[in-house]
Symmetry: C2
Subunit: 150 residues, 2 copies
DNA sequence: TTCCCTGCAAAGGATTTGCATACAA
DNA sequence: TTGTATGCAAATCCTTTGCAGGGAA
């Protein structure tokens, strides 16, 4: 969701380095490159694809294990979101720069569209409440056919 | 979702055998036992757990490969639903006896509650439409803390 | 008899882990 | 210097597949 960014890459990295420091963690070129690729990408990337992109752009040695370690760390810190689309074997990742949103997938062309609907969010909370649940999060994927594919 | 059944096991099996026949497929004790365990269960079961239950109840030789083959077949026919809960490695399955519903998971005790909300469904459709999508299906899991765990 | 179905074991694919080395602070 | 991060390869875990034998109709 590149378009709605209100933060520059530099600002973002400064904040990231702060976060690392406050956790007693180091920075590394690998982490920086992963973030950079995610920042520049306008699609959702799998760990494999991410590794491929990093290697293509930055000529650095990097193993797939590192990619997973980085993505898991970033996901725990809510810096990235990983989503698993029905029928796929592996997760795809995106930077969590904008506020919460959900995804809609075209089952024909696999396009992923992001959306946010306040009413929908509110309704989920109410439904949870009426079942005695305090809602903490959700996971919603809509599957359909997009405009171009009809 | 055992409680809301409007169909008996025998009726269900008759219908299932019909389906098999109309597809040119056979019946088998393994398929019957898998269905029986799912029918009697009031929880969602993984492939592993399902195999364990079948073996415990019916003393039949059965391999995990068969469980997966059966579950995949049943899922394609929409006779079972498989759902993947965040943080879990494997899907859990339930019989698709009642009409469409979604799930709410307690992140503390892992309880799964089923629910259906017409307004929510309608809203999803509208949101899809306003993004140019014709909604075909969705995948929604709500995560929270249940009554007993608060 | 003719396919379909199963068990077993091996293969697959994505992700994780162990370990020695390299790097950040 | 000290602890953290990485690369590589091996290990895991879940799921699928190949093949030969068994079963349903």
């Amino acid at each position: 969701m590149k378009k709605d960014l209100t933060i520059s890459y530099d600002e973002f990295m400064l904040k990231f380095k702060d976060t690392m420091k406050s956790l007693g963690l180091n920075n590394s070129v690998q982490r920086e490159y992963v973030l950079k690729v995610l920042f520049k990408s306008d699609t959702h990337l799998s760990a494999d694809a991410l590794l491929f992109e990093v290697k293509k752009e930055y000529e650095v040695t990097m193993g797939i294990a590192t990619v997973y370690r980085i993505l898991n760390l970033l996901e725990e810190l809510h810096i990235v979101n990983g989503i698993l689309i029905d029928g796929n074997e592996s997760k795809v990742y995106e930077l969590n720069l904008v506020s919460h949103h959900d995804h809609m997938v075209c089952t024909q062309c696999n396009k992923i569209v992001e959306f946010y609907d306040a009413e929908l969010e509110k309704l989920q909370e109410n439904v949870a409440l009426s079942n005695g649940f305090t809602l903490k999060s959700h996971n919603m994927l809509l599957y359909g056919i997009c405009n171009e594919c009809q």
